[in-house]
Structures are given as C-alpha cells and as structure tokens.
Subunit: 160 residues, 2 copies
C-alpha cells in the first residue's frame, strides 16, 4: 500500500472512531473529519438528538468547524472523510463549501438498513416538486424577484 | 381571497422582507420563516459570508432557531415560507426536520439568473457518484459497518 493510500486510511480511521464515540455518547453513529494538506482542520460527530438540531449531521458540524478554523466560507483544497455516504443535505453543503474530494465508508443502503432516511430523501429530491411527500407551493414569485434585482445591482456584494 | 390564502401571503411577505433586509445587511438575498399554528417560531436570513458558514442558508438558520424554540429535533405541524425554492441542502434538511409543507416564491432558475448554484447542485446530486464534479471514493466499508452494528444493537437509542 502506498503512502497516499495509507494517509486516506488513517483519516478514515479517525472518522470511524468519531462515529463509534458519537453513538456511545448518545449521538447518531456518524463521524467526519476535514483535512487540508494532510492536517485535520475540523471534526464532527452527529448531534441531532443531543442538540435538538436536525441539521447537526457529522459532516455539517465538521464543515462549520473547519470554516471557523480557516476563517472562510469556502474549504478550498480540503478533503472530507466520513464513515457513511453523505445524505443530500450534507452532499449539497459540501458542494457549497467547495471541497476537493469526498471519501466515505458505508453507503446510503447500509444507513437504510439501520433505520436512516438518507436513501428515501435522495429519492424524494429526484422527484418533481409536485410529486413529493412534503407538498411544495409557489406564491408571490413576482414580489420575490424585487429582492433578487436589488442583489443583482449591489456593487459591493460577495458572491458565493 | 380566503383567510388561509391571506395567512400564507402574510407569512411569505415576512420572508420576502427578511430577504431584503438580509442583502442590505451584507448577507445573501434570502429569508425564511417557520410557522406553527399560524405563529412564527423561527426566522432566518442568509449568513454564509457574514458568518463564514456555507451551511447558514436562511432555511437552515430558521430550522435551527425553530427547533431551539420547540426544544425538539422535529418540526411537526410546521410550515416554512421562504423567498426562494430551497436548494438540495435545505430541502433535505426540511425532510429531516419533518415539516408539513413548503411555500416558496422565486425558484432555482431565478436564483441561477443572479449567480447562485442551486440548480447546478440539483443536477450534480442527480448524477451517479462516479460522474460528479467532486470525486467520491469509497473505502473501509467493512470497518464502518462495525459502528452501524453497535448502533443497531443499542437498546436506548433515539431514532430520527
């Protein structure tokens, strides 16, 4: 096994250890680490039920901590290691953050086998808005475009 | 216009006002309110660049605040009003939170027209993991399943 493969396994082993610590501490069985230049800049474990925060998946916690450490809203040249394939929330967050690569261990079907909805939510997002379990209604689009125009015309805005 | 339609418009108008306040304050042009029994329990505006937090979309901020107010990781019987169609991160978070309905005003194409990646991320999530812009690699699945088994066997766990 070459050096780079060893590094990936080392960081994944950290994520797996975080996942096991998390479930022993009363959180969900998920852990993630974000690495830049082979140095860990953010760790996270699942805190949904501990913090009453449905957004507190391991990846989200790690992203927020890594961004705080970097003092940036982008995670350029960063890699995330997570013990399970990210759900759509976390995967989209990783796109917004701009990470370079994603390493995962278990997958959405493994998560489904222990009762998690990741796969179901992937299926829901693939449906058209009118066919989803949560009804989606559009109203006042014209009024909303006023705010979008204001943004478009702002000269000192920070795009992201 | 009947009373219920008026209520929906009233709450959406609040979300639109939050969006315009947000962009004037240096955040992105997005605002959201979460309502339970016609009462606002959580507001949010986009704070990505203000807080260096790529997860701080208006819906996510509103979800976290509403959950704190309810002392719960679920938002049963709650409706969200947001000035733009939720991106995949926020939509999946709304599934995890278990909201009852989603009202939005502008859509992903309107967001794309002012430079936001929502639509692009929807397209990426629809691709198979091997065809995405951010490379995804699976490793150490067998080792990860150990943690999942520990979770599965926990007797006092809180499913979510």
């Amino acid at each position: 096994m070459d050096g780079i493969a060893t590094q990936h396994q080392k960081h994944m082993a950290t994520a797996l250890a975080l996942a096991e610590e998390s479930l022993q501490a009363g959180g969900g069985p998920f852990g993630a680490v974000i690495v830049k230049n082979n140095r860990v800049i953010g760790r996270g474990n699942n805190r949904v039920t501990l913090d009453n925060d449905p957004t507190a998946h391991a990846e989200m916690v790690a992203i927020r901590r890594a961004c705080r450490a970097m003092n940036d809203f982008q995670l350029a040249d960063c890699i995330i290691y997570v013990n399970c394939e990210p759900c759509p929330m976390c995967l989209a967050a990783l796109y917004w953050a701009g990470v370079t690569a994603i390493f995962f261990a278990a997958d959405r079907n493994d998560a489904a086998a222990i009762g998690f909805a990741d796969n179901l939510i992937y299926q829901e997002l693939a449906r058209s808005p009118t066919e989803r379990r949560i009804p989606m209604h559009q109203l006042m689009r014209t009024e909303a475009l006023h705010g979008f125009r204001l943004w478009d015309e702002l000269e000192d805005k920070i795009p992201y």
